[in-house]
């Protein structure tokens, strides 16, 4: 699975996710990637999210829109909401990670698996990438 989230100069947010699923999956099985609110979500008022991992758990917990809800209704920061959802998924058998970006500030890139191919760039234009827990 691959994904991106972005905030533009006008303050608009967007999210995109694309996947092949997992190796030797049951024919016809669809994970969270195309399920809006689970693997892909964007709302200017809160955040944009793209996820990767055990799709069934991310669907059942509507992971992406859950982050938005915690920001909107529990006044959590992006980092609190994103990390909290990843931790809760892990305790329910969901491993993987996500990237999220809010109305302002840096993105959040939490994961509970052994690693996540990831990167981000801020308004300084510097490209930062990582794979494991570096």
């Amino acid at each position: 699975t691959v994904g991106a989230v972005a905030r533009d100069a006008a303050g608009n947010l967007a999210a995109g996710t694309s996947t092949g699923g997992f190796t030797a999956k049951r024919p016809g099985r669809v994970g969270d990637t195309p399920i809006i609110g689970a693997g892909t979500f964007a709302d200017n008022a809160t955040c944009a999210v793209s996820t990767t991992g055990t799709g069934e758990i991310f669907i059942r917990f509507t992971a992406a829109s859950e982050i938005s809800a915690r920001i909107r209704y529990a006044s959590q920061t992006l980092e609190q909401a994103a990390s909290g959802v990843i931790a809760e998924l892990f305790s329910n058998g969901g491993d993987g990670g996500l990237i999220a970006i809010g109305r302002a500030g840096p993105p959040s890139l939490p994961f509970n698996s052994s690693g996540m191919y990831r990167g981000f760039v801020l308004s300084d234009g510097v490209f930062r990438t990582a794979i494991h827990r570096e």
């Binding site: 972005a6 100069a9 996947t19 892909t40």
Partner: protein, 175 residues
């Protein structure tokens, strides 16, 4: 005026730290930076977040290092099924495709559903018929059929047939 920013992921199916030689790690960092560069080129010229996300994901889809499009994994029947979703925070417009194979860039397929259909999610043959009428590049099965993914499929099918426990790494499970 907001501060533009972009984040990307290439999936949680990373090779274990011990199993990744420096050349492999460098290849992944280079591929991630290429996707950041593609998206940042849009944002740094005051382009839209939607366009930045689209080109960043397309760059990752085109790279067979990652499990999407060209690097997609096989299902248990040895076939390729791809899924994609895209969403605009400005108006909550959204588009998604599931269970398709053919478009070189499934993220463009999802965007076509968002921009040129009355639906949010289109799946299977109906989705492929709709997309065939859109201005989207299709590729043959061979384009998506990478040796590394064929090997991973055969290893997993052999394991299942043997009844051996599932000790696969994140890379093998998540593709």
């Amino acid at each position: 005026m907001a501060e533009p920013s972009l984040a990307i992921h290439g999936g949680a199916g990373t090779l274990p730290l011990t199993g990744m030689d420096p050349a492999m790690a460098d290849a992944h960092h280079t591929a991630l930076r290429a996707a950041l560069a593609a998206g940042w080129k849009v944002l740094s010229k005051s382009g839209s977040a939607l366009d930045a996300v689209t080109v960043a994901v397309m760059t990752l889809e085109d790279d067979d290092l990652f499990n999407a499009a060209r690097g997609a994994v096989f299902n248990a029947d040895g076939k390729l099924e791809m899924d994609a979703g895209i969403m605009s925070g400005r108006d909550r417009a959204a588009g998604a495709v599931a269970g398709i194979c053919g478009p070189r860039n499934p993220i463009l397929a999802a965007r076509a559903v968002m921009e040129h259909s009355e639906t949010v999610l289109l799946a299977g043959r109906g989705a492929e018929e709709f997309l065939a009428a859109q201005d989207i590049e299709f590729q043959s099965f061979d384009y998506f059929c990478t040796e590394r993914r064929v090997v991973a499929l055969n290893q997993e099918l052999a394991r299942r047939a043997s009844g051996a426990p599932d000790t696969r790494s994140d890379a093998d499970r998540h593709g």
